[in-house]
Amino acid sequence: MQPTVRLQRERFDAAAEAAALRRGRTDVGAVVTFTGICRGDENGKPITALTLEHYPGMAEAEIERHVAEASQRWPLLGVTVIHRYGRIEPGEDIVLVATASSHREAAFAAADFLMDFLKTRAPFWKQVEQAGDRNWVEAKQSDDAAAERWRKPKIGDAAE
């Protein structure tokens, strides 16, 4: 399986990416997609836009490491991860995770796993524009807890 990992400023077409995972093959029985979208509010207040900063090089490497780990854990037939950076307005897509497998359990679990790790381990930082102010979004404890669900004793790397 050759996964697709892309970081880009431009919008993407989630539907086309999902379709590509199973086109022309009949071994795929399940496709799961997660699309993360820029909401129009943050903490109850309207936002103008998000700006996503990332660590070029490390972001790709980190996502690829987690895709490789997902492929070891579950029998995947395809994985696509696309994460945008730069300025993103409400209603626009931010991130796509799409997984394909013969059966639903693997496709669901791998997509869920990859999203938890994108949230907590991929080097991206969101800044939110609200009423002329710009503020960095704070990391959520609930995201760390979600990622912790997947930890196996021997897999954890050196970081907290």
Binding site: E53, A59, H83, L118, K119, A122, F124, K126, D157
Partner: protein, 86 residues
């Protein structure tokens, strides 16, 4: 003396006022913790960036590491807040 590239992201970058720099590190800096302590002493912008060292994350050559990790051999060391992607 070891020459490394330091990279800063998000509010760490804003506080220090630059995205990256090359520095020669004193030979007695062995760990991430020792490096952040040393950096914090380089001026008030650094002191501000590292004022709460518990929350700063570190990557050595683009891999997450703990604060106790040794930096020997690293060419690129990055500091940033907890990630908020996805």
């Amino acid at each position: 003396m070891a020459r490394v590239t330091l990279r800063y992201f998000a509010w760490v970058r804003e506080r220090i006022g630059k995205p990256d720099e090359e520095l020669d590190l004193p030979a007695d800096i062995g760990t991430v913790d020792q490096l952040t302590a040393w950096l914090a002493g380089r001026g008030e912008e650094y002191a501000y960036a590292f004022e709460n060292r518990d929350v700063i994350r570190t990557a050595l050559d683009r891999r997450h590491v703990r604060r106790t990790a040794t930096i020997a051999g690293a060419r690129e060391i990055a500091f940033f807040p907890p990630m908020t992607g996805g």
